[in-house]
Amino acid sequence: MIVIDTANHIAALAAKMARPKVAAAYPITPQTTIVERLAQYVEQADVDMEYIRVESEHSAMTACIGAAATGVRTFTATASHGLLLMHEMLHWAGLARLPIVMVNVNRAIGPGWNIWSDLNDAMSQRDTGWIQFYASSNQEVFDGVIQAYKIAEHHDVLLPAMVSYDGFILSHTSMPVDVPDQKEIDAFLPEFKPGWRIDVENPITHGNIVPPEPYMEIRYSMQRAMEKAKRVIEEVGKEYGERFGRYYGLVEEYRCDDADYVIVTMAALAAEAHFAVDRLRERGEKVGLVNLRTFRPFPYEKLNYDHMIVIDRDISPGLGGVLAHEMKALPGEVYGFVAGLGGVDVTYKDIERIYALAREGKQGWYPTEVK
């Protein structure tokens, strides 16, 4: 069935179809209409789900942790400052290996007060042990949420997963989305089997004191799980393609086969870059696009190109664009551009200009300070 709706409503629909038993959320700005729609489903008795309206985003994540620890599937959604308030509990969910799925709408961090697209909120949660997906269209939002559950809950992984997409550009924009039947979703996504759970018949303590050596083993286990997640993401993306006709992997490669230069970016910027690549190709430029679907685990092995033009809609002050700097360790040449912060529009024409500047060996803040 084709549904035309905003990414927020599509995310809520995907969450509903994944059948979480518990959703917890805080409903005030910068929260989006995702949880409003979820609450509506619960009100209409459309779902078998406990909806907990908590007093803060920190509590939203805590409630999800508690619910997931009893062995049930959980969901929450947030954005920008809400995600930042969760920070401590994001680490907790990761270290507790609870496969909570969360949707985050990428919105700028204040002050000044700005609710437009900016990836800094999610990018600054990169070390919390969450798998991070970025969507470029409402279809990718739907498919991403469904797959996120299967990937996060895989017993080689057991890590929480976050699906992010740009504020307004996707969140409040209606697009057609192909939505499979509930039966097909159920066949793809079986019931959640927890890695551990609180059970009064078999009492355990979780979060007890852990001396140095076992603590390091826990961290090592997380790192290994992230590495294994790369394989699982590819496998689940392939299975999804076989069932629903849309294939996914760690990255999306567009017209990269004979490319001398590739543009590397993610989220809505990647959607825009498709048009830029097509127009540049028409003019005979050998250019492709690598759309990073996953930021954690970071798909280093997919970034084997001689010249990579990286566009960051995020900034690590004192370092630069986060993506560009994470890629500096790769053998290829990296041209880093910071663009579009706080929702500044970056059109395909801007991306064509960025390409031309990179071809001159330049990089920097687009458009004001490129050297």
Partner: protein, 81 residues
């Protein structure tokens, strides 16, 4: 998958009774056997017998039992050297 899980084990942190500064003593004549001390003891160091029995090997002397006792049957006295 590794995470911070432990199974219930008696004395996993050693005999924590040595941490005690104040020692709870139950006056059995006052005790009404309501078992609030037993429920509230965070270290499960109070057993249910005919009357509550404190396990001084593990009681840290936190005083929660004395605080919860509705008839003030538990007295906290300074631990002798």
């Amino acid at each position: 998958m590794k995470t911070a899980i432990s199974l219930p084990t008696k004395g996993a942190m050693g005999k924590t009774g040595t941490w005690r500064v104040f020692r709870p003593t139950i006056d059995l004549e006052k005790c009404i056997k309501c078992w609030r001390c037993w429920i509230f003891c965070p270290d499960a160091a109070i057993a249910r017998n005919e009357y509550p029995v404190i396990d001084y090997d593990y009681c840290k002397g936190c005083g929660i039992c004395a605080n919860e006792c509705p008839v003030n049957a538990i007295e906290m006295g300074r631990e002798e050297k």
